[in-house]
């Protein structure tokens, strides 16, 4: 799963917290096992002691009342057919009843001889000395209780393995739920981490969904204080970045703007020179080439100015504007310029063209689309501007079909189709940038919809 990849913050937290919980639970189980072992030891010791003290008078009385004092008597377990009567040694030492009784005992005299024993022992005396209290060897834990006179000793023993088994099973009871609950723990941690990281995701979306050129400060409601510092740092960075980019754009815009007047001067001087030297001058061709270069410089400076404006986010507008006057003004301006051999025809629906885009930015877009159509389209048909609804404009021209691979690249900077001398390769890129800022979309089609030739640009405004 992607969330558990090394690059996922959620995955890292979930896996680390899960491992920590597991390890800590394991440590807790071990500590619990120690405590359980200790407590069970005390309980079992108490049991040994209580058993010895309660059984000692009965055993002493039983031994005193028997007929043959030389023989060891063993007491069978309940349900073994022997009742509570003792049996003499050698008759049935191993009854094999399979009972789960863990306590065994021996009544010994002060010489150590076994006078009475439980069913699971032999006639051999226990290894424990005849001293009052507890004693332990590798296999058994013993408790020795002397009689009042100190002539008889009752020793009760319990297997050490039994105690270990009890401790192990108790500890396992603590550990087992963890194994069963691990998946539930993982899911619970994942849900909580996911919920806890919601502000991080909101921050990511806030940054990720921003359009190019949007350097506004990040504003998140209820930002956790761990993120506040980060958001503040990002906002500071955005401020510095915006200042740097604005300086760069202003420089580009001012440079392009300041270039206009010198270019205008050079062009006017040159055109006046062309008039003065006349048609027959040997310098006319060279002067015309200089004029063509100046005209190209003029267009390039104009496009750079538009580009810097587009990059500065000129397209965004908080309010909607009526755009018909802009359409009329741009179309009229292009017609009057006499730069193109073709002309423009406007087809308007009886619907207001009204959209949230800066009027200057819209003017730049429409001018670029018209220039594109006039430069690259057929001269036999006018370029048509169709106002198609309140926020949709189609600019289409007749002419050759643009290959699909070229069509897909036309909105990139400095991509040109054909070799028209006026083409700079920035117009469609500038238009796409501005329209995206205004929340709209620029789509290119070739051939134009419903025709087998030509090119169409569709502006869908917001």
């Amino acid at each position: 799963m992607r969330i558990f990849s090394r690059s996922s913050l959620t995955g890292r937290i979930v896996s680390r917290v899960t491992v920590c919980v597991f390890v800590l639970w394991l440590v807790a189980t071990m500590l619990a096992a120690l405590v359980i072992n200790d407590e069970l030891g005390e309980a079992f010791d108490t049991g040994l002691q209580e058993t010895a003290r309660r059984a000692l008078p009965l055993a002493v009385q039983f031994v005193m009342n028997r007929a043959d004092t030389d023989k060891t008597v063993y007491v069978p377990a309940f349900g073994n057919g022997g009742g509570s009567q003792g049996r003499e040694n050698g008759k049935d030492d191993k009854d094999g009843n399979g009972s789960d009784e863990y306590l065994i005992y021996q009544l010994r005299d002060k010489s150590g001889k076994v006078l009475l024993r439980s069913h699971d022992t032999t006639d051999l005396p226990f290894a424990a000395p005849l001293d009052s209290g507890f004693w332990e060897d590798r296999n058994f834990r013993y408790y020795t209780e002397p009689s009042v006179s100190g002539t008889l000793f009752l020793q009760v023993a319990e297997p050490i393995g039994h105690r270990h088994e009890a401790t192990f099973e108790s500890s396992l009871a603590v550990l087992l739920p963890l194994i069963v609950l691990i998946p539930a723990i993982v899911i619970a941690i994942w849900l909580n981490v996911r919920s806890g990281l919601m502000p991080v995701r909101r921050l990511r979306d806030e940054i990720g969904l921003r359009g190019r050129g949007n350097f506004d400060a990040i504003q998140l409601d209820e930002t956790p204080h761990e993120l506040t510092d980060m958001v503040n740092a990002i906002n500071m960075l955005l401020v510095r970045l915006r200042a740097a980019l604005n300086a760069e754009r202003n420089f580009a815009a001012n440079s392009a703007h300041e270039l206009r007047t010198p270019i205008a001067s050079a062009l006017a001087q040159l055109q006046q020179l062309l008039l003065e030297i006349g048609e027959a001058s040997p310098y006319r061709d060279r002067a015309k080439k200089v004029e063509a270069s100046l005209n190209r410089l003029r267009r390039l400076s104009e496009k750079l100015l538009q580009w810097s404006r587009a990059e500065s986010g000129i397209g965004r507008s908080v309010q909607s504007h009526h755009l018909y006057p802009i359409v009329d003004m741009v179309v009229e301006d292009i017609k009057r310029s006499n730069r193109f051999e073709n002309t423009v025809r406007v087809e308007k629906d009886n619907v207001a063209l009204y959209a949230a885009i800066d009027p200057d930015a819209f003017g730049i877009c429409l001018r670029n689309l018209l220039e594109n159509g006039l430069m690259h389209g057929s001269r036999n048909e006018p370029v048509v501007v169709k106002i198609n609804g309140p926020n949709r404009i189609i600019v289409e021209n007749a002419g050759s079909v643009v290959p699909p691979d070229m069509l897909s690249r036309l909105m990139q900077r400095f991509e040109r189709h054909g070799n028209h001398p006026e083409s700079v390769g920035l117009g469609l890129s500038i238009t796409a940038t501005i329209i995206a800022q205004a929340g709209g979309q620029l789509e290119l089609f070739s051939p134009r919809p419903g025709k087998s030739d030509g090119f169409a640009a569709i502006l869908s405004l917001n």
Partner: protein, 218 residues
């Protein structure tokens, strides 16, 4: 036409003045608002060509002042400010046209002529009087189907008549169209150019109204 060019960029102003003079328009060139006010106070102009960013103020303020005073002299703004909103501001202030730098001189002349014709009440650039056909936009004239070449000052004079066919123009009015500031004015210059025009386009096309002026018969 008598033109006032207000442009502070010397190289551009120089080229524009030379070009407009060569096209037969008496052109006065000033570089700031103060000089422009003085020029307009003393001379009636047919069209004002106005730059916006001037050393002593903004061209739009000059234009608003003109319109407030009731001066309806046609005005074309020449500027490097290409924003639509700049254009709307200029047109709302009373400009008749708006040309963004850099521009072709031919485009400037075409717009100049269009504005002048519009103000003369005759936006049609084609004029036919008898066997004379005048294309004011292309600045060509045909007499009985044959093209006739005119000098810049002959054009300047004919332009004054053609923009007001049938109207009587006084000698001082015609003199204003012929000379830019500083040029010497001979007492018989208008008569000389009227005479040359009559020889080229026909003697009966321009009538003399003694003591009043001249009129293009339409």
């Amino acid at each position: 036409m008598r033109l006032l060019l207000i442009e502070d960029e010397k190289a551009l102003g120089n080229a524009l003045r030379d070009y407009l003079l060569a096209q037969g328009h008496a052109t006065d060139w000033v570089e700031n608002i103060t000089d422009a006010d003085a020029a307009m106070a003393s001379t009636p102009y047919d069209v004002v060509l106005l730059d916006l960013n001037l050393p002593d103020g903004h061209g739009v303020d000059l234009l608003r002042g003109l319109r407030r005073r009731g001066d309806v002299t046609p005005c074309i703004i020449l500027t490097a400010q290409d924003q639509i909103t700049d254009r709307i501001q200029g047109l709302n202030a009373g400009a008749d046209d708006y040309l963004v730098k850099p521009f072709d001189l031919g485009e400037l002349h075409a717009r100049l002529s269009a504005v002048a014709r519009r103000y003369a009440g005759n936006p049609n650039p084609l004029l036919s009087i008898g066997n004379v056909d005048i294309d004011l936009a292309r600045r060509v004239i045909f007499v009985a189907g044959l093209r006739v070449d005119l000098t810049a000052r002959e054009w300047a004079l004919l332009d004054q008549f053609a923009r007001r066919p049938g109207a009587t123009l006084s000698k001082p009015q015609l003199e204003e169209a012929l000379y830019e500031f500083g040029a010497e004015i001979e007492s018989n210059t208008v008569e000389v150019y009227i005479s040359r025009l009559r020889k080229k386009i026909g003697s009966n096309l321009i009538s003399t109204l003694r003591g009043v002026g001249y009129r293009l018969e339409g």
